[in-house]
């Protein structure tokens, strides 16, 4: 079973109001948000932080696209351009996508497993409040003397050793965000393993919780590795060590091995929670239980384990020996098998269902379609001889935006529309949400599909200016990017509008909803499941 139908749940999710009302125990105004230990408040903070960083990173992306509209240097100089590529990547990954996923986890995991809150409520507060400080460090690195960190988000030495003090700020920001992620992960693992309602065995847990459990283990495994890598970078920069300096007996490629040992699992850290959200949405709007629940769990685990042994496919042109190229190529190709299983299971869930196409389902289908396309280009890139042509070209840029944007981000949009009624107590504006979907879907493809062509034709990535044969597709791509950016304003508007009012949402706005959160009233009361429900 994919999840627990609510009619099997005995008892109430909500404590009857007896004497103390839900606002009695916490401060109001700004102090509510600074001191909160409530998983719903913290979830909201994470989600708004993610949204803010999404727009900050988006403005950087649009500046890049504006510069690339036409050959020649028009808007920014090359140093600032390199700073933009670096920070756009870091801001989107560490500022928008990862905190967004933690926001969903905070809101939904306790409600889906019948827990009253996260296991470590105060640590939860701290793991969030580290983030704004990290974000300020990161973004201010753009304006430091010596220029912005112009290395790309991969911060490869020796270039990152050469950089000005903006690089130090970036390194500290990564440290802080890493600490935040590790604390968040410990919290999520402890919550899932210890606070499940009686009767909810692991294999009855909603798939979103499974996806996050596995993600949290990945985070704990790799964030310290990244912290180690950037610390070595820091000591190379300031304390005379030579980890990555050949002249002192080090090796610049060592950094790449360590970085990608973090970096590849990181890809799945970003996408597994999205898989979880999609696995909730598709059954609900197909009105049919998730197909192959157990194989979904096994596929998630297989992807997570394989993600540790494929890192060098990011380094196919560094001059690895043939034997290791073949190993990493085969291992990478293997990931297609569990990923395929997931796609087939989602399809089989829809098959012979009773499908309706509200905004969450539209985004889930958009995810399925475009993520699979990004998966195929991933398979093409896994083939090392082909990767030799595509490495560091726009083909790679197209590929990872298909899995990060049309994959994870679309899943987050879908998840937001799916749970907004539960969070706010109001239904969102379906018509505007559909506009948001179609705007995002169409302009995403206008922006990123031509990048495949640019990569095929030989345009390197991370360049502020380009040869004239790349002009046409770059213009198309820039138009698409601005369309995509503007479409996101619809999203912001819909979310604010839904918070402020709208049609009252019932406890279960989706008739196909099968998980515990739909047994709670909408909006979900401040404290839920103070007495755990019993899951039969």
């Amino acid at each position: 079973m994919s999840s627990v139908p609510h009619d099997q749940v005995a008892g109430h999710g909500v404590t009857e109001p007896h004497g103390h009302d839900e606002h009695a125990h916490h401060p109001t105004g700004i102090m509510r948000w600074i001191t909160t230990t409530n998983h719903k408040d913290i979830g909201t903070l994470y989600l708004w932080f993610s949204m803010t960083m999404f727009f900050v990173g988006g403005i950087m992306a649009l500046t890049i696209r504006a510069e690339l509209f036409h050959p020649g240097l028009q808007i920014v100089d090359p140093e600032f351009f390199n700073g933009l590529t670096t920070l756009h990547g870091l801001v989107m990954i560490f500022g928008a996508l990862m905190p967004g996923a933690v926001g969903f986890a905070n809101w939904m995991i306790p409600m889906q497993i019948g827990a009253p809150d996260m296991a470590f409520a105060r640590m939860n507060n701290w793991s969030f409040w580290l983030l704004p400080f990290a974000a300020v460090l990161l973004v201010s690195s753009m304006f430091m003397p010596g220029g912005p960190p112009g290395t790309g988000w991969t911060i490869y030495p020796p270039l990152s050793v050469e950089n000005g003090m903006g690089m130090d700020l970036t390194i500290f920001a990564i440290h802080i965000m890493g600490a935040s992620s590790i604390m968040g992960s410990i919290n999520i693992i402890t919550t899932i393993l210890n606070l499940r309602a009686p009767g909810m065995t692991l294999m009855k847990m909603p798939l979103f919780c499974w996806a996050w459990l596995i993600t949290a283990y990945l985070l704990i495994a790799v964030m310290p590795v990244l912290a180690g890598a950037v610390t070595m970078l820091l000591t190379d920069r300031h304390f005379g060590t030579s980890f990555f300096n050949a002249a002192g007996g080090g090796d610049p490629v060592l950094f790449q091995h360590i970085f990608w040992f973090f970096g590849h699992p990181e890809v799945y850290i970003i996408v597994l929670p999205a898989f979880g959200i999609i696995s909730e949405i598709i059954p609900t709007f197909s009105r049919k239980p998730l197909f192959g629940y157990a194989s979904m769990v096994y596929a998630l685990s297989a992807i997570a384990i394989l993600s540790f042994i494929v890192w060098a496919h990011h380094m196919f042109t560094t001059g690895l020996p043939s034997a290791s190229i073949l190993f990493y190529m085969y291992a990478t190709m293997l990931i297609a098998v569990p990923t395929g299983v997931k796609v087939f299971n989602w399809l089989a869930t829809m098959w012979k269902g009773s499908i309706s196409l509200e905004a969450p389902m539209l985004f889930a289908l958009g995810f399925l379609f475009l993520f699979t396309l990004g998966g195929f280009t991933g398979l093409v890139l896994a083939i090392q001889p082909i990767d030799v042509q595509f490495q560091d070209t726009y083909y790679v840029v197209a590929h990872f935006h298909y899995v990060m944007v049309a994959g994870t981000l679309f899943a987050f949009f879908g998840g937001t529309y799916y749970w907004l009624p539960k969070w706010t107590g109001h239904m969102y504006d379906e018509k505007l949400a559909d506009w948001h979907f179609w705007g995002s879907f169409i302009f995403f493809n206008v922006a990123f599909f031509p990048m495949h062509f640019l990569g095929l034709a030989g345009m390197p990535r991370r360049i502020p200016d380009y040869a004239q044969q790349f002009t046409d597709w770059n213009m198309v791509s820039t138009v698409g990017a601005f369309g995509f950016g503007l479409s996101q304003l619809i999203f912001l508007y819909v979310v604010i509008k839904t918070i402020r009012g709208g049609e009252k949402a019932p406890a279960k706005p989706w008739d196909g909803g099968m998980t515990l959160e739909w047994t709670l009233p909408s909006p979900a009361p401040y404290h839920t499941f103070e007495h755990p429900p019993t899951v039969k």
Partner: protein, 384 residues
């Protein structure tokens, strides 16, 4: 824009062209080419194999994609709530699940086999006809003909005015250099790739060759171009602010033309090495120095000598090092300063180049240094 090539690739091109046409308003063939959407014309066996491999895997993916999403769209239309479809409640089927695990695995085997053959072929650098060492610098390439004992630098030759939009852009905008790499047609060229400062990547799409240039390590790769012509590529690893401005141009010449070119280069390099003690005229130093300065120093200090404060490159106009004692400036240029922000040039530029560049800075942009001439012999002495 569509170049003629043979083989089963035409179908792939047709399919991709369909997608291309759906997205674009239209494009006319002109120089430079427009709406480029497919691999550059390959001139080595490896590059051709890569394209075939890509198209083979592309087609497998297309078939799977159509199958999977055909099924999805069928379900979307037929199994809709709005058409009154009642949901079935099945949620597992072991046989089906095993089948769709095993079949993709088998398909992968069919992809892995040709891929493996290509990997092994591309890494076979044995028995080359000639060996060239390629070194990446911020931001230019050095080509060292190890068998013939001469070497030269290869700099972007697109004028700044074109980049800044003050002049119309040429056909080979950003893809042109002062001294291209020259190789004979049909020869197996082994390329040793390394870098002097940060990581670069030497990439020529038409050869199917991309190799990261890693400071302190030498990697090798190879190509055998089977058609004479000029082939253009770019640095493919972010290497700092001029990363987009260090192209690679390879001229493949007939065996005879190559031999003539090589002999001329050998003569030139012998002549340059011959007489470092010769005393140069001021005008000659300044005119050679301007070339050296613009190719090597202007990226940071600017062609106008006004520097770039954002990256800590001082203005040389009125600078006290430039106007002060020449021995100090020679030392700074040879050995660098500021923790390598000003890099050491002693391993990069010759005595003549350094003397000329220094002399140029001391006599340009209104600078009138007291000690205004630096001879190559003085640089030679300072090296010791």
């Amino acid at each position: 824009m569509v170049r003629e090539r043979m083989g089963g690739r035409s179908l792939a091109r047709l399919a991709m062209l369909g997608v291309a046409c759906a997205l674009m308003a239209g494009g006319a063939a002109a120089a430079p080419p427009q709406w480029e959407w497919y691999f550059q014309e390959p001139v080595t066996t490896i590059a051709r194999t890569i394209i075939d491999l890509h198209d083979y895997i592309f087609w497998i993916c297309v078939v799977i994609f159509v199958g999977v999403f055909g099924t999805m769209f069928y379900a979307l239309f037929k199994h809709r709530k709005s058409v009154g479809h009642q949901a079935a409640q099945f949620h597992e089927n072991t046989l089906v699940e095993v089948v769709w695990t095993v079949i993709p695995f088998l398909i992968l085997l069919f992809m892995a086999y040709p891929a493996t053959k290509t990997v092994l072929a591309a890494h076979d650098t044995t028995a080359p006809d000639m060996t060239i060492k390629v070194t990446g610098y911020q931001w230019k390439w050095n080509y060292d003909y190890l068998d013939d004992g001469f070497s030269f630098y290869s700099n972007l030759s697109t004028p700044l005015a074109q980049i800044e939009g003050r002049e119309p852009k040429g056909d080979n905008y950003l893809l042109e250099v002062d001294n291209p790499l020259v190789v004979p047609v049909g020869a197996k060229v082994r390329v040793l790739v390394t870098a002097n400062d940060v990581i670069h990547a030497w990439w020529v799409p038409a050869f199917g060759v991309k190799q990261d240039a890693i400071p302190g390590f030498v990697r090798d790769t190879w190509f055998r171009a089977d058609k004479a012509g000029v082939y253009r590529g770019q640095c493919a690893e972010l290497c700092g602010k001029e990363h987009g401005f260090m192209p690679i141009v390879v001229e493949v010449k007939s065996k005879e033309d190559y031999a003539a070119w090589r002999d001329e280069q050998k003569k030139k390099s012998a002549a340059a090495a011959e007489n470092p003690d010769k005393v140069w005229e001021l005008a000659d130093l300044v005119s050679h120095g301007q070339q050296v300065f613009n190719a090597n120093c202007a990226a940071c200090h600017q062609a106008t000598g006004t520097g770039n404060q954002a990256i800590g490159a001082p203005a040389l106009v009125g600078d006290k090092v430039v106007l002060g004692p020449k021995d100090h400036q020679i030392d700074v240029v040879l050995n660098g300063q500021n923790n390598g922000k000003m890099p050491p040039w002693k391993g990069v530029l010759s005595d003549v180049d350094i003397a000329s560049a220094i002399t140029y800075t001391r006599n340009s942009w209104g600078n009138k240094a007291q000690e205004n001439v630096v001879q190559p012999s003085e640089v030679k002495t300072a090296r010791k």
